[in-house]
Amino acid sequence: MANGVFSSSRAQISEKTLRTDKWWLQPLITFSVLVSFIIYATFRAFENGNYFVEPLISPFYSPCLSTECVQGASLLGTPFGIIHIFGMTLSPALIILIFPLGFRMTCYYYRKAYYRAFWFSPPACAVAEPKEKYTGETRFPLLFQNAHRWFFYAGLVFNVLLTVDAILAFRNPEKQWGHLSVGTLVLLANATFLWLYSLSCHTCRHTVGGRLRNFSKHPLRYKAWTLVSVLNHKHQNFAWISLFGVAFADFYVRQVATGAFTNFYFF
């Protein structure tokens, strides 16, 4: 039976959409970029190598918590032993990636992006979606989107750790402080973008003050809410910039670790 825009009571129009603009371009770009990132991140997470070269560590492998980690890469010790699954050694990245991945998967902006680009739900505004049934975020697994705040809190811990990594990069390979290299700037930019992404998050906005009814009774929280609201306007931009930032930081560290790049020191 016809449903949606083809329901019998609605204006009888055979096209799914009458939009004449390139409505398909945005979801196509989103799809291409996210698939590219997923392929690269999967490759790197399973590569289990080329993620540390003194004093740089890839954000995909930080914190490195397994005894599998190369020497010097474990800032917080190695509480996990070497884990084998189906005869394969589990990469240290796979132990931690669930947290940043979960944060992005449940992010309100990325939800919009992938619901449109991957599930066509809908592909664009006023473009009919192909699926007959729709239950939104009311059932498992999409009910799990409500866990966003827990990933947000975990993400803050990761931001702190990656900021520490960036600070540690102000050393030279001999661990002497007071040096600045291209790698330092790359890790510093990565940490900054991640902080901007987290602080502009809708959950952050809610936590700092959005849940209040009475702003006038909580002037400090109102101020914080106002500041986060300014960042929140740019959340989409920070989401993409930080995604590129983390991929580039990993790529740079990998190239330095393999010897393809030389980490240039300014001083």
Binding site: N3, G4, V5, S7, S8, S9, R10, A11, Q12, I13, T17, L18, R19, T20, D21, Y108, R111, K112, Y115, R116, S121, P122, C125, A126, V127, A128, E129, K133, Y134, T135, G136, E137, T138, L142, L143, N146, A147, H148, R149, H202, T203, R205, H206, G210, R211, L212, R213, N214, F215, S216, K217, H218, Y222, N232
Partner: protein, 253 residues
């Protein structure tokens, strides 16, 4: 100076209909509603179209122009290429009555399902006082002109007729948010009913409502997502749930 504009206007009713081609004069500065009126005056005397203020403030002339939900009185003819044919159809989420007029009574039924503002017991008219910073959030939502473009573009009901029973839609989520954020409203179950009765969980925040809003209300960012977060406070956050039980109140007010 007048030029010719090619239009395809949907004509019909709930039983049948189709797009009819028409060419009409258009003058500099005119909007789509102007040329629809000219078509009505000169070529299609029985063309049905709903309109009122011609100033983007009454929300009556909502329709779909080249497939996009828009106000006809706020769509400049000059925004289209000279050789472009403009397709005009009624809103596609609601039952059609005739030509460009649809039955939007769904929205009025949903409006009645939302409990009104409930002031503290004993508070007399004229007594309430609020600070500007407490009013500002809900003032954004009061800009709504009820054009129902957001309702029309929301795929939850546009593409799934069966969801109309259980989904209030973005226009009414901003109403619920406005009341839930109101410092003097004492009704405490608005979050619960938003989720369980008005279908907040069906929204997958694809932001089409925000994109089409002629008043530029940030429906998703300022109403729907904050309401989703407030629901999480109550239903999916064990720490906050426990805190509310111990402190015997809904949360920080």
């Amino acid at each position: 100076m007048a030029r010719k504009l090619k239009l395809r206007i949907w004509r019909g009713d709930s039983t049948s209909g189709g797009l009819k081609d028409v060419t009409v004069d258009v003058n500099e500065g005119e909007v789509v509603l102007d040329v629809i009126h000219r078509v009505q005056a000169e070529q299609m005397g029985d063309l049905a179209v709903r309109w009122n203020c011609k100033a983007g403030k009454c929300g009556s002339c909502s329709m779909e122009i080249n497939g996009k939900p828009r106000l006809a009185c706020m769509t400049q003819c000059a925004s289209f290429d000279e050789d472009e044919t403009i397709t005009i159809t009624p809103l596609r989420a609601f039952p059609v009555i005739k030509d460009l007029v649809t039955d939007v009574s769904f929205n009025y039924k949903k409006a009645m399902e939302i409990p009104a503002f409930e002031p503290p017991v004993g508070m007399k008219p004229g007594e309430p006082r609020m600070e500007q910073i407490d009013v500002e959030r809900s003032q954004e939502f009061r800009k709504c002109i009820e054009c129902f473009l957001c309702q029309n573009t929301c795929h939850v009901i546009r593409d799934h007729e069966e969801n109309k029973k259980s989904f209030a839609g973005p226009r009414f989520f901003i109403r619920i948010a406005e009341l839930d954020m109101h410092p003097l409203d004492i009704l405490r179950n608005r979050k619960k009913t938003a989720q369980e009765e008005h279908g907040l969980g069906l929204c997958n925040i694809t932001k089409c409502c925000t994109e089409v809003c002629p008043e530029h209300i940030r429906i998703t960012d300022n109403a729907i997502i904050p309401m989703k977060e407030r629901v999480v406070d109550q239903k999916y956050d064990p720490v906050r749930w426990l805190g509310s039980k111990i402190r015997k109140r809904e949360g920080i007010l």
